[in-house]
């Protein structure tokens, strides 16, 4: 059995989770997911400003705090915090570090701000086989962070489909951190989720596992909390990944005194193509929310809409009127509706001018004019697309420093 924990479900997750997982009990490997489609865009913009960046900076802070503790306890760290610059991050860590590279396909997709193939588990396994204490990757699938250490530990073969599928399910349950232990959970009133603990998978040689968490941590691991996370961000029951196709309709969950046992998972060969996450800059956006209180809400909305169109033009504006107002209300807030407006434009000056135009209406528009927060200068926005490339067009590499 190998005990694999998770300490991060996204870039910005609980900073102290790394320490909590290391101090809370026994672990063999601690993983963390820092990358979402949106995060790649944020890191892409970091990299534009400074080419030595492009990784998840919070992970570096966690390592300053916890690397010595992890080494002392013999817990190996496996994270995708490398983002767009795994080598740059790896060189900042004082340990035996391996990194995974080869996901960057920007030369193949030159029009994109970021273009990264979703790599799999085997380069992670190779780093661990060569003795890495810390493994830093760029874009690998979230579940591969768990599959890699399990495959290395048990010496699985690349066609051990059922085992790889079992570990993929464990990885999918872990990848969003506390979403497996009662966070973002429909039946939250039935458990105490004040401070849910981070999840752990105890994975067996056959790929089955026990989902659990350290004793004394909050939240819960139940068949329902695990079911909720299994359903997160999936499509068809045949879940395609770079390592294996996992059949979610074969997964069996059983309650266990320390959590939930997962077994029965079937796997089959993965597709011949790898998915690529593409982000391109779409333009600039800005937004504000007008508060419309009391009588004549529809007419008030019409007036401000007409005025803003006059000032900066209609093109690229999206309006939503949320009729949160109630008749004859006892509080001002309950008497108010919210009129949201967003501008999307190729012209950064127009995105900035939107703020000025909106605020210039303050004394010249509907009675009771105010906004929930003053609009800013506008920000660039990205467009996400998935692409697919043949496996032989991607050369993933494991590098040990």
């Amino acid at each position: 059995m190998i005990r694999i924990g998770n300490a991060s479900g996204f870039y910005g997750d609980r900073l102290s989770a790394m320490r909590e997982q290391l101090e809370g009990g026994e672990l063999d490997v601690l993983t963390g997911d820092y990358l979402a489609e949106l995060t790649m865009l944020i890191l892409g913009r970091d990299r534009m400003k400074d080419s030595s960046l492009g990784y998840a900076k919070t992970f570096l802070r966690q390592m300053e705090d916890c690397l010595a503790l992890a080494l002392d306890k013999g817990v190996r760290i496996v994270v995708n915090a490398g983002g767009l610059n795994p080598e740059g991050l790896a060189r900042k860590l004082g340990a035996k570090v391996g990194y995974v590279t080869g996901d960057d396909l920007k030369t193949r997709f030159p029009e994109a701000l970021t273009a990264n193939a979703y790599l799999g588990a085997w380069e992670i396994a190779e780093c661990l086989d060569q003795g890495a204490q810390v493994v830093v990757t760029g874009r690998v699938t979230d579940a591969s962070l768990v599959v890699g250490p399990a495959a290395a530990h048990f010496g699985w073969a690349r066609d051990d489909w059922d085992r790889l599928a079992g570990a993929t399910v464990a990885g999918h349950v872990l990848e969003c951190g506390t979403q497996a232990t009662g966070g973002n959970y429909s039946f939250f009133t039935e458990i105490d989720v004040t401070r849910p603990g981070f999840p752990i998978a105890e994975i067996n040689e056959d790929g089955s596992c026990l989902i659990t968490k350290h004793d004394g941590t909050g939240g819960a691991v139940t068949v329902d909390t695990v079911t909720a996370q299994l359903l997160y961000e999936i499509g068809a029951p045949e879940y395609l990944g770079p390592d294996v196709t996992t059949h979610f309709d074969t997964v069996r969950l059983d309650a266990h005194e320390r959590g939930v046992r997962i077994s029965g998972t079937k796997g089959s060969p993965p597709p011949d193509t790898l998915k690529v996450c593409l982000n391109t800059l779409g333009g600039f956006r800005n937004s504000t929310t007008f508060v419309l209180t009391g009588l004549d809400v529809a007419e008030k909305a019409d007036l401000v809409r007409r005025q803003l169109h006059d000032a900066i033009g209609e093109e690229g504006l999206t309006w939503t009127l949320a009729r949160t107002d109630q008749r004859d209300a006892a509080t001002e807030e309950q008497a108010s509706a919210l009129l949201h407006v967003t501008i999307k434009t190729a012209d950064p000056k127009r995105a900035k001018g939107f703020s000025r135009a909106a605020i210039e209406l303050a004394l010249a528009s509907y009675p009771g004019f105010h906004v929930t927060a003053p609009p800013g200068d506008g920000t660039p926005f990205g467009i996400y697309q998935a692409a697919y490339v043949n496996r032989d067009e991607v050369s993933a590499k494991a590098v040990l420093l």
Partner: protein, 106 residues
């Protein structure tokens, strides 16, 4: 008896680029037999009028249905002007819709 679907069903939703996914599950085999018959693609569109192109998948082993709502989020979270651009609360919205639930399941 007309009750919120969430009286007996849990849900979790999220984004995949411009698509949203919405998983719905119940806690007994009887409840799943009802849910599987009741929550068709057409019924989902009726409860969430914003949904247009929908794929539906059955996961009886988890007593669950998974829906993919294609194109709900435009060009993805960074670009979407939808209220809740990542569809995080789509599931909780569905759970709050009132539907006829057989009394023996309540």
């Amino acid at each position: 008896m007309k009750r919120p679907l969430g009286t007996i069903a849990g849900a979790r939703s999220g984004d995949k680029g411009g698509d949203a996914n919405l998983g719905v599950w119940v806690r007994s085999d009887d409840a799943f037999a009802w849910l599987n018959g009741f929550l068709t693609t057409e019924k989902l569109k009726e409860l969430l009028p914003e949904a247009t192109e929908v794929s539906r998948y059955e996961l009886p082993n988890l007593r669950a249905l998974n829906f993919v709502l294609h194109g709900l989020l435009g060009d993805g979270v960074a670009s979407s002007t939808r209220f809740d651009p990542q569809a995080k609360a789509l599931g909780e919205w569905l759970r709050s819709r009132e539907v006829e639930i057989p009394e023996e399941l309540l």
